[in-house]
Symmetry: C2
Subunit: 799 residues, 2 copies
Amino acid sequence: MANITKKVSWSSRGDDSGLAGEGTPLLNGTEIPKPSRQLSGSGSVFRIGRFSTVDLEDDITSEEDPIRGRPKEIPHNEKLLSLKYESLDYDNIENQLFLEEERRMSHMGFRCLEISRWVICGLIGILTGLIACFIDIMVEKLAGCKYQVIKENIEKFTEVGGLSISLILWAVLNCAFVLVGGIMVAYIEPIAAGSGIPQIKCYLNGVKIPRVVRLKTLLVKVLGVICSVAGGLAVGKEGPMIHSGAVVAAGVSQGRSTSLKRDFKMFEYFRRDTEKRDFVSAGAAAGVSAAFGAPVGGVLFSLEEGASFWNQMLTWRIFFASMISTFTLNFFLSIYHGKPGDLSNPGLINFGRFESDSVAYYYYELPLFMGMGAIGGLLGALFNSINYWLTIFRIRYVHRPCLQVMEALLVAAVTATVSFTMIYFSNDCQPLGPEHNEEYPLQLFCADGEYNSMATAFFNTPERSVRSLFHNQPGSYNPLTLGLFTLTYFFLACWTYGLAVSAGVFIPSLLIGAAWGRLCGILLASFTPTSPIWADPGKYALIGAAAQLGGIVRMTLSLTVIMVEATGNVTYGLPIMLVLMTAKIVGDYFQEGLYDIHIKLQSVPFLHWEAPATSHWLTAREVMSSPVTCFNRIEKVGTIVDVLSNTSTNHNGFPVVVQVLDSDEPAKLCGLILRSQLIVLLKHKVFVELARSRLSQRKLQLKDFRDAYPRFPPIQSIHVSQDERECMMDLTEFMNATPYTVPQDTSLPRVFKLFRALGLRHLVVVDDENRVIGLVTRKDLARYHLGKHGLEELQLAQT
Amino acid sequence: MANITKKVSWSSRGDDSGLAGEGTPLLNGTEIPKPSRQLSGSGSVFRIGRFSTVDLEDDITSEEDPIRGRPKEIPHNEKLLSLKYESLDYDNIENQLFLEEERRMSHMGFRCLEISRWVICGLIGILTGLIACFIDIMVEKLAGCKYQVIKENIEKFTEVGGLSISLILWAVLNCAFVLVGGIMVAYIEPIAAGSGIPQIKCYLNGVKIPRVVRLKTLLVKVLGVICSVAGGLAVGKEGPMIHSGAVVAAGVSQGRSTSLKRDFKMFEYFRRDTEKRDFVSAGAAAGVSAAFGAPVGGVLFSLEEGASFWNQMLTWRIFFASMISTFTLNFFLSIYHGKPGDLSNPGLINFGRFESDSVAYYYYELPLFMGMGAIGGLLGALFNSINYWLTIFRIRYVHRPCLQVMEALLVAAVTATVSFTMIYFSNDCQPLGPEHNEEYPLQLFCADGEYNSMATAFFNTPERSVRSLFHNQPGSYNPLTLGLFTLTYFFLACWTYGLAVSAGVFIPSLLIGAAWGRLCGILLASFTPTSPIWADPGKYALIGAAAQLGGIVRMTLSLTVIMVEATGNVTYGLPIMLVLMTAKIVGDYFQEGLYDIHIKLQSVPFLHWEAPATSHWLTAREVMSSPVTCFNRIEKVGTIVDVLSNTSTNHNGFPVVVQVLDSDEPAKLCGLILRSQLIVLLKHKVFVELARSRLSQRKLQLKDFRDAYPRFPPIQSIHVSQDERECMMDLTEFMNATPYTVPQDTSLPRVFKLFRALGLRHLVVVDDENRVIGLVTRKDLARYHLGKHGLEELQLAQT
């Protein structure tokens, strides 16, 4: 077979692999031996080597203009994999300390832990519900004030003329809100931008996105989303709720706040990645549950994103958190609305109840629904493509905070202007019925007792607009209004997603879909004026909304359940499923889902569900990093400090080996130790002098590792004196003595399955005498993906 | 650490492990070294060694009476683990043949496979839907005829006297149906007894239950369930639907029927356990979906039972199968009911639609609901306990087919008698309203224009009775009727489950719960006569039904969704969740779920989600079987035949090793080969003469293995001549060259996680030089379970 690959990883700060950098940097850092036998198969690797991967922070180059002097352009290409993202340890580090603790723990102890887990999930549910409640009430209050002020202003100026002043007022109010939100996000916590769903997906997948579950992120996210929705942007508050739930979970489960420097000395057992991940998935589910009043949908959402670690007890806990979250939200909202105890209005968003009698459907409508699903898929792919190019543009040119805030302001102003223009030129007047649901009916140039129909769509929070489209009487909108609205809102929403504001894409998608769906319904009704079943365009609005949302985000199972739970009627289960599936199939043909695009554009080493189909001809030998920096079981402190300090090879996991005396052979594997563990050991000076008398005052315990988790100090902050450098360090007790290993001939799909199923961070490749010959990390696996022309290999880079 | 355990496995026919039997049989075949250091922990092993594990087929002994002569008593104890169940290979066997095939396959080839998978799922959905349709129509026809005949008879004899003739008629009709069903199950296919859900759970878990997915089983199951429901037993037809769906899936996905000896030469790629399992989970989901009109519930059911192998694409395929199944059923039922195209009545069972206006609930009802959940949990635990003792009794004394049929007949006759008596002595007459839903209203001794209320509950198929309890007007039942009905039906249902008939437990549970739930509602209403909210006892019937079902089967997430989908109203989502969770928590305190009890009583080596909490002090060294029978890479045919023929060590997996010359040390691991592969090799005589010229005509291909799958011939059927015995066999091409391995110090939870996450069958334990020192199989892991007093170890036995 092929010789051992030598991959040279240079300037790979943040690389997971224990890869010893040697040799000079090459522009194409990767070299894969392709034995001719294997090339005969269909899966051939296309190497993407157009871009130099020189450390971009110091030496900024661009695709078009590699000369220095235009530093504002950051080159970007989605065929890169960033090295700055590290992995989370979703596999327990079973070292002696851990095993001793587990063995000491009684049956009762495990029961107590289990009860703590339930308690934490309850807390997560309650807090998430409260946050959702807060967001909802604040948005309602602020948006209410804003629309009231503008409405009065418009009414004042409609007759005397000078509506341009109203326009300016509207634009200024919008910009003011967005300015606050934008500044917070751009200057204080950029990770809080967007819906947060891609970040949570990555987290559950096992990628450590810096600062994604911090308290500051939560604050900025919550306040930011209030500002952006109140600022009239084409955004929803549901995505950020999911992120908020995840942050709450990560915080509560640790029993302390590192940001606030408070440690409640609770839940210390849960201070590791595995446990935290379980709670974060509960938090995300609670967020979905609060946002849509969909507890089952929440569980399914977490499932669709991170099912590889599922088990029954965990499912139930997640379900519990979701239930509590919906319940809390409902309870407090019912008090706020003055009807305490009425729990029939779950969720932040409320689509209104579809009663089954009025909206039955017949089987011959199903092809129509599927057609709408296909349209949704097409429009979704268009949306995603436009947003993709926009995001590339933003990465290249709009990367300074001030520019980002200015863009957000521009969008806010344009949104107000476009809305105003549309309303102004619309002559779609509808009678103001006795039971109209409009919160802010604008009369404008309509006759008395009538209101401007375009204004119900634009002059409203998006949630209310969706509900109006679903439930208003047939004839409330004329087709031109809906058509124009769809067109403008489509581009506004597309422009808005990806701005430096905290904002979700669910509601805008639903709104676009509801608009063209209702349009379809009206058109169909006009073709068959005698048949009663077309009578309700609200039904088509619902189907259109599902199609559009499915076309953009490409979830099926969880989205079906969310839609069913949010509409409160299971009759539409089957049509919604069909529509979502059609939208997904059609959409996937052209473009990936929106969240996947954003994950890819961030160059996150995301592991999909399975290895690419045509990757069987790759083996561990070819994908692994090699040679590997190993430590001896008893290692010199100086060596450890030097390896850890080496910024060019910032490895995180090191196999521990037993030296074979008088031999140059690779040594036999006996364990695996992490950078974070070594840091704690160095910090506590757990050294052994050569005379074997311990320097350290006390024996190191698991608690010391837990206290340092998750923000381990950098090696630079730890001072090691020259004397100490000469000491030895005994790693036996701290290393994971039984790391998972694979032989070098293992096929990539097999390695991938092992890695994904167990949530590994490092997988040691050994030869048939158990000697370390390589190390597989997340990035080694994420590099391979299936492109249009077969297997492609992504380039690793520092971006 | 401890010395290597030597477990002596004797008369272990069907054992998975490659364990060389040596030494003399001991009564306590297992010996576990317990280093004193480890015993200091809480997890101490209680050995259960009361029963001799002498091969019970030949030498029947019993607990009470160890003397021969009473062979009809089969001793049984749930602290045994049967050796007769083998494991399925849910990990792909990646040998050279497989890898070469995968490497040859183009990107397009994988696309086609993916499309085939979708097509198969569609077919599974359609066929499952058709079967459900067939069952539904047949049951309705047969039960309709039966009740019509009895009704006319009763009406004839009510006035003239001699109702005992009606009773006899009723009993005889019931017995006739049950006789047919019972004979089919007891004599033709005993595995078709019961609901089939425990068997499907085991299958998805990775245990090979003989004949569980065969065509004959399907036929017996379908006809059997029609007979038992038409025969008036307290059973439902929903559980068997799930089993039927699974069988359909296993059949369709293989593109052939081994029973009918037809091979359509399709879907050959899917002829292995991994792929088949994926389809079987789709089939089970389609079954649930058809039974309850709950496609999402179906997906969740499969998820709750087998989530360890989940991934997104699979979820969607399963969802697709579920959708198609509901749709097919709906479509054909709507034609049958004369309203083609009306798809609003999904599922075999139809709880009727709860309209949201009439049945709102308030938050102060939630504690009441939870109270009912607790009652459900208690009653469920009682049900399960009684059924447990009954099942033990049946295993010991009622194990002959004729006895089983007689018991079924007895139950049928008693059911008819009890029902008749209850109706006869009931004086609960209700006016026959203009819009009554009763199919067969019995007037009996009531005044004209009235009907006997007890008869709506007893003189009906259980599905209809449930619907009446949910939806009949308040006042349709008096409390005494409901109380008596609950009591009698509880014991009837409990006696019925476990009979040798094809029968589900969902509907009886719902019926019991609906009866006492409605009773609760009526009682509550009588306490607060002025409040309108208690007005609808149907609401309480629904909650009671959920509580009782949850208390018996202990599912939460999937059951919530199933109930919500079946009632067509999400308003009750939250209360149903609360109730199911309460019922589960309360019930689990006393007794396991019904399906788990039956799995345990079958001594199936079922792997739960996680290793027992207190098992960290066990390591691979202690749980593994050792020494292991290994083969050399090039092995003598005679040796292989001898090892395979050895009935005392019927191993299924053999590590392949490379001999170290001049050494007695265990040889180095280089692969793993299965008994089934060796059988195929022997059958095709893939031998190498010592002179290395091949005897075999052609090179063996994957196709040969697929053709033999899944019914590999026994070794006894393969004739190997004395000359051939001297040949050699080269295993290199056929063995899995990269089996998963663990070092011997790996803790049990870690081994367990690896095993469960990857669906392994054999896990090789190696020392630090990669030499085989043991083998871990499913039975080695399933032996340990958490009892009342900490970790317990089950005994392996041949039962």
